[in-house]
Amino acid sequence: MYPPDLEENLRLVEATRPGRLKRHIPRLNAEQKQELLRSYHPDYKADTMRSLKLGPNKGDATPVELADLLEGASRLDPDTLNLADPDYDVDVLVIGCGGAGASAALLAQENGASVLVTTKLRLGDANTVGAQAGTQAADRPEDSPATHYLDTMGGGHFDNIPELVEVLVKDAPSVIRWLEKLGVNWDKAPDGTLFELSGGGTSKRRLHSARDYTGLEEMRVLRDELRNRKIETLEFMPAIELLLDDAGRAAGAVLLNLETEELIVVRAGAVVLATGGIGRLHLQGFPTTNHYGATADGLVLAYRAGARLIFIDTMQYHPTGAVYPLQILGQLVTEKVRTLGAQLVNNQGEEFINHLEPRDIVASAIIRECGERRSGLTTPSGEAGVWLDSPMIDIIRGAGTVARELPAMVRQYRRYNIDISKEPILVYPTLHYQNGGIQIDTDGATTVPGLYAAGECTGGVHGRNRLIGNSTLDIFVFGRRAGTAAAAYALGNPRAVPGLAHVRHWLEETRGAGLNGDRPLSPRLLPSYTRQTHAYSRLK
């Protein structure tokens, strides 16, 4: 049930549906896409960026919220912390435990390393669990890794790093099988044929799904396997600084126990950063689909340790974030809804963009529709949005498809008396994914020796726009590679002596750059959502 004015507009959507079922808006050509992005995509708003004043990416345009943290102040005093007697001494330390961290930990252990995993929230509290639509892999006879490569490059506006995309597409089918051998339940036919769907920007059907709980299914299996393999895991203990030796090689990290506020020193032969994304920084004030801990911590740690970042000026705004009801504002409406056939419709009941365009294109079109064209709708709390015509799915694919393919979505809306198989969904773009991040090679190696990275905290794989189903592929491909390479590095090199000279050096550099005084502490660790009132103040 929608409020009366929205309910009335719904009649228009229903009236135009039979016509819309027969014809689609054609996809845009390259120039039309560029024009749409330049005019409406949030990445192109110049006043939301500033150039970094120091560090390996000095001079690079960066979202202001991220720039403030990258140039932020350490939470540690490097001169008072005793590093001589570490609390843990391991071959490989994995920081962060979503899909990438878990894969890295499993592979590092398989390759003979002793492994410690540390994570800011619980094991598996990560963006991985919220991934709904699926994982790409070109395994059908009609498809090929080369086609997957071309789709991925095109989606990323040809800025992706070719070598990273190559290993992404070549490892993909093996990742599907690896996960299945670990016990992941893929959607498939009785004869074993995998069900595969198209997504925005894919030219072949190649999305492997587990209902609309794909990431959850992947994560709960990996988490169980970490426990079965008795890999030691620290929860609620984020890293607040990396440790380096005199030669600048990774040598461990300092962790913070969020509950007791104790500092924990970990000495390690190699470190894998798998800290995920950035959504909880709410760039440009956007709501986000990201989990509670997505505050770009890994970027801050790596940057201060001297690692290079790439494409940090490009974010993915998922075109279909919920705007009604208010309780689920910004939460993900999976792209699988579009994939299954739902069109995007404005307040005139018209389709305004082909529903299978890549995410940045669709997001820009929605922003244009609600802004300049004044063809959006407004919710009682004042949020703008357009219709995602989910009832088309059962019409196209048969009654019961929505219930079978989108149980999480059905459940989420049923709480608020909306039946998405009969009523469309109101959506607007929401901050979803960090396209760029720490620069890596095909082993997940960063520019700092002994420091590896995998998953959303890295950049290059997706260029300037990630395709659907390539992130839950990326995390496994590069998590496995980084874990393997980190183990080999740790076992093949003498264990480094940890130090914090780089933090001292950073402090001097920030002073040199005129950055003193009001810098925020970083990494951020958690967002602050408590109400700010004049009535109460807090102890530091």
Binding site: R140, G154, K170, I176, G183, Y536
Partner: protein, 234 residues
């Protein structure tokens, strides 16, 4: 949230608070000043971190839900469940057999289930927990896997079971057994993995990697796009 919104009375661990209608339990806690460390994860109904218990001032009956999904209602009494211990069997999946007795062997206590259905009532995903536990008792791995599929592993079933069982962990074992052993394998997937290992696609990929930006853009624009709707569904 505008301060003009209608305020409702709720009670957080006994403390009276007035919060705007339209918040979730999670955002109401934050509105009331609680900075959450435990008990918050994806904030979207998938991770199970915010399993919560509540009742009402005039109705002591306990109710269960996910704090990020459930909207606050007048006179709600809220607590947070930071952690709840539950039995979990350790195993090597590759050494297990997907047979009738495996679930009961690893979780022998499931015979103690006396069918009180408290688990089902506690499930925020509205799963038929007691029914899949009875499937587990019969050793029907497939039935457990299907019925438990939408489990977010919040642990409320285990928190409420008077016999100390952990249905969500039993179900996870069943799904992993099903995924590895009982789900029909895709022969095409294996073929494709062999083709890649053999280097069948290396030349095509090399050509694309070497292509000039303009060439690549042209190949992209001209690529064959398969219709999205031609797959038949069961």
């Amino acid at each position: 949230m505008s301060d003009q919104a209608k305020l409702i009375d709720i009670y957080i661990m006994g403390r009276h608070c007035r919060v705007p209608a339209g918040l979730t339990i999670l955002t109401a806690l934050e509105y009331a000043g609680y900075r959450i460390v435990r008990g918050c994860g994806c904030r979207a109904g998938f991770c199970g971190a915010c399993a919560t218990v509540y009742n009402f001032r005039n109705d002591p009956q306990l109710r269960f839900d996910l704090a990020c999904q459930k909207a606050v209602e007048p006179d709600m009494c809220l607590v947070q469940l930071p952690f709840f211990p539950a039995t979990r069997a350790g195993y090597a999946l590759e050494n297990l057999a997907p047979v009738n007795g495996t679930l009961a062997e690893l979780y022998p206590d499931i015979v103690k289930c006396f069918g009180c259905n408290t688990c089902t009532k506690a499930c925020p995903q509205e799963l038929e927990v007691m029914w899949f536990m009875s499937d587990a008792l019969r050793g029907d791995i497939k039935a457990v896997a299907e019925k438990s599929f939408d489990c977010v592993m919040c642990g409320l079933c285990a928190a409420r079971c008077p016999q100390g069982l952990a249905p969500y962990n039993v179900a996870l074992l069943a799904r992993r057994l099903y995924g590895r052993y009982l789900a029909p394998a895709s022969r095409q997937l294996d073929r494709r993995i062999e083709e890649i290992a053999r280097g069948d696609f290396d030349a095509a990929l090399e050509e694309l990697k070497k292509a000039s930006p303009d060439e690549l853009k042209q190949r992209y624009a001209e690529r064959d796009v398969e219709p999205a709707h031609d797959q038949t569904w069961e």
